[in-house]
């Protein structure tokens, strides 16, 4: 009996999962599942518990890329430190930059925080603007649309299905956002600090002010001088919330919290980073609840 179930499972997967889609991060993966439905099988390359800038290029990722029909990447330089050699060594012509099965979502996003001057003297700055856009729930429909359009292009036969999935999803999401935005109105004007500029899209969307970062410069570990400066700034501004991601050390945040009587909240940067953020809705709800309450 078990065997039969397994066999049918394998068969149905083989029959219906016509497109193999790899996404670099889990939020993109979750959106792809919404739009692609049963017609795609999604593989997420980078674990959401790790720093998205430094995904370990394990050889097993090569075998995942080798068979992909479509590679969906975040873009904006976020994958610069790990993805290029994987693409070079996976030997898959479908997903080369410029090929039909290559999609850079950042091309559909209005990137914020574009630096005026780019030099590594300022740390490992994101030269193309802040690539951490997946924390803004209002960008989800834009991302979904870009993905749907690409799927329609790759799998013309099922274009209607993707369009229908997209419409249904977008409608539901707009509905969800109404309630979401209403809840967050009370949070406008709140002041926070964060470790890296991971949450700027969300904060900007809801009028929450980020008055500083724990890292002195992007990609540089905290220094006592900078931490003291940040402490003073937090005191001056009455900041009581520190946004901590899951992958950086938490000592500095805890130290600061103690000094200024603030609280440290761990905010997921991608779907599934924190337990209880495994669906898109749970992910965005958790961000809102933890920052706002």
């Amino acid at each position: 009996m078990k065997k039969i179930v397994l066999i049918t499972l394998v068969l149905t997967t083989a029959l219906f999962a016509s497109l193999k889609v790899d996404t670099t991060y889990s939020t993109l993966g979750a959106i792809t599942k919404k739009v692609g439905g049963d017609l795609v099988s999604v593989t997420v390359l980078g674990s959401s518990k790790y720093d998205p800038h430094f995904i370990v290029p394990k050889p097993s990722l090569l075998s995942k890329l080798r068979r992909a029909d479509l590679l969906i990447m975040n873009g904006g330089g976020l994958e610069l430190g790990w993805l290029p050699p994987l693409i070079q060594n996976a030997h898959n012509r479908n997903i080369q930059n410029g090929a039909k099965g290559f999609l850079d979502i950042s091309h559909s996003i209005n990137m914020i925080d574009k630096p005026v001057a780019v030099s590594r003297a300022f740390g490992d700055v994101h030269a193309q603007g802040n690539p951490h856009y997946s924390t803004d729930p209002h960008l989800v429909p834009i991302i979904a649309k870009a993905i749907a359009e690409k799927l329609m292009q790759l799998d013309e036969e099922n274009a209607d299905v993707y369009q229908k999935n997209l419409d249904t999803f977008t409608q539901k999401w707009q509905e969800y956002l109404k309630g979401y935005d209403a809840e967050l109105r009370s949070c406008k004007g709140k002041k926070v600090v964060q470790y890296h500029e991971l949450y700027n899209y969300f904060l900007k969307r809801y009028g929450i002010e980020s008055i500083g970062n724990i890292e002195p410069l992007p990609g540089i570990a905290p220094s006592s001088k900078h931490t003291l400066e940040l402490l003073m700034k937090m005191k001056r501004n009455g900041v009581k919330t520190i946004l901590q991601d899951v992958y950086h050390e938490k000592r500095t945040a805890k130290f600061i919290a103690q000094k200024v009587d603030a609280k440290v909240v761990v905010i997921p940067h991608d779907v599934g980073s924190v337990k209880g953020s495994e669906t898109l809705e749970d992910f965005y709800n958790m961000i809102a609840n933890r920052i706002c309450k």
């Binding site: 430094f54 370990v56 097993s60 075998s63 080798r66 430190g81 030997h91 590594r120």
Partner: protein, 411 residues
């Protein structure tokens, strides 16, 4: 434009000045903020407009410039052996700097001097050529010469998981052969690689075909044909070197990954006799966090080389553990050993040629992903100097800088 905004703001302010509510004041405050934002936006847009009108030179091709990185590698070395003696060291049965005249043996390009060394300035250039090819070049500028370390093209559009590489490149034999000096975990070359191939390992003009299997488990197979100019192991005047390998990797859970490989190389020596080299390698990596990992890597190489119709059989291994504590610090230890040396060693009569080995330890500090300071200590028991076995202790502080295009991190 700015004036108008200010004027309307002023009018707005005077109109409202007499009304009494705090709420209005607050509204005004936000109005002012909005105006301020608008003003700065206007300024920004104006600035953008100006700059965008005069940047596009008629024949500018800047957008097509290749990615360029500059890597500098330098060191300060203390060694308890004089430079002139060190330059003549021998590894019995393998390296014989005294007797040979060929360049491969005589070369001591990295950290050769007690004192200060600029090992090289490397220019790494990469560019997409067209929809079918990518091109790479790694140029080493040594203090007195320019060396093309690698320069090759790879295909990007072959079907069925195939890729061809052609040019001068490092063979993917084993685990270490392909790695550049600055990406080694220790500053000195693994003893068995140094002993069999010299500092550049198998790096030659040739062509490579690699295939990645369409399987859940990573399986990669490759074959290569080279000119075979490395006369420490090969060196016949015609193309003579063929390399093949099979690599595979599995993950156990999210954080433990294992990579293993078997490799073989078949070539002809200067005297057109067979030289076969076999290798096995195993790497286990446990990820302890985004910036923390424990990596255990080992490799065993064996060479069977025919010399005057008799067969020399030699082998060696290294095993190393590197612990990356966080994004700034890591540390590691390595053990090197020649395990087999079945060769005519009569010229070393009276000298102990057994137990050729080396112990190495290092601590490295990376203030930033692009720069690395490393303190490297080795106790080397594999060398003969001036007709006597001599242990060598070396302490070196090396600085490696990678500026420019972002080099991706390798596994």
């Amino acid at each position: 434009m700015q004036k108008k905004l200010l004027l309307s703001l002023f009018a707005f302010t005077s109109l409202m000045a007499n009304s009494e509510t705090e709420a209005l004041k607050e509204q005004l405050q936000s109005q002012q903020e909005t105006t301020q934002k608008l003003l700065s936006r206007v300024e920004m847009l104006e600035a953008q407009q100006q700059s965008s009108t005069n940047t596009s030179a008629s024949f500018s091709q800047n957008a097509y410039l290749p990615d360029i990185a500059m890597i500098l590698n330098m060191s300060a070395v203390y060694r308890d052996v004089k430079n002139s003696d060190y330059a003549n060291y021998q590894v019995p049965g393998f390296v014989n700097n005294d007797l040979t005249t060929d360049d491969d043996n005589a070369e001591l390009p990295f950290n050769a001097n007690r004192g200060f060394n600029l090992n090289y300035a490397e220019f790494a250039v990469h560019s997409v050529v067209d929809p079918y090819f990518e091109a790479f070049a790694y140029l080493h500028m040594h203090p007195s010469e320019l060396e093309v370390d690698e320069a090759f093209v790879t295909t990007t559009s072959l079907p069925a998981g195939l890729r061809i590489k052609a040019g001068k490149f490092k063979s993917a034999f084993g685990r270490l052969n392909e790695k550049h000096q600055h990406s080694w975990s220790f500053d000195e070359q693994a003893l068995i690689y140094k002993s069999l191939f010299g500092p550049d390992a198998i790096s030659d003009a040739g062509v490579q075909l690699q295939w990645v299997a369409p399987t859940d488990t990573y399986i990669m197979a490759g074959v290569e044909a080279f000119q075979g100019t490395n006369d420490m192991s090969f060196g016949y005047e015609d193309p003579n070197l063929f390399v093949g390998y099979l690599k595979s990797s599995v993950d156990i859970g999210d954080d433990l990954s294992i990579l293993g490989g078997v490799s073989a190389a078949h070539g002809k020596t200067v005297t057109k006799e067979n030289s076969n080299i076999y290798g096995v390698d195993l790497t286990m990596r446990e990820q302890l966090g985004s910036y923390s990992a424990l990596v255990w890597q080992s490799e065993y190489l064996q060479r069977d080389k025919d010399v005057n119709a008799s067969r020399d059989s030699q082998a060696g291994l290294y095993t190393q553990i590197v612990y990356q504590y966080n994004n700034n610090y890591s540390t590691g230890i390595r053990y090197d050993r020649i395990t087999k040396n079945e060769i005519d060693l009569s010229s070393y009569a009276g000298i102990n040629t057994d137990n050729l080995e080396r112990y190495t330890a290092m601590v490295e500090y990376k203030p930033f992903p692009m720069s690395r300071l490393r303190l490297n200590y080795s106790h080397d028991r594999s060398k003969i100097i001036d007709g006597a076995r001599q242990d060598i202790n070396t302490v070196m502080l090396t600085l490696n800088i990678a500026a420019g295009a972002h080099g991706a991190h390798s596994y």
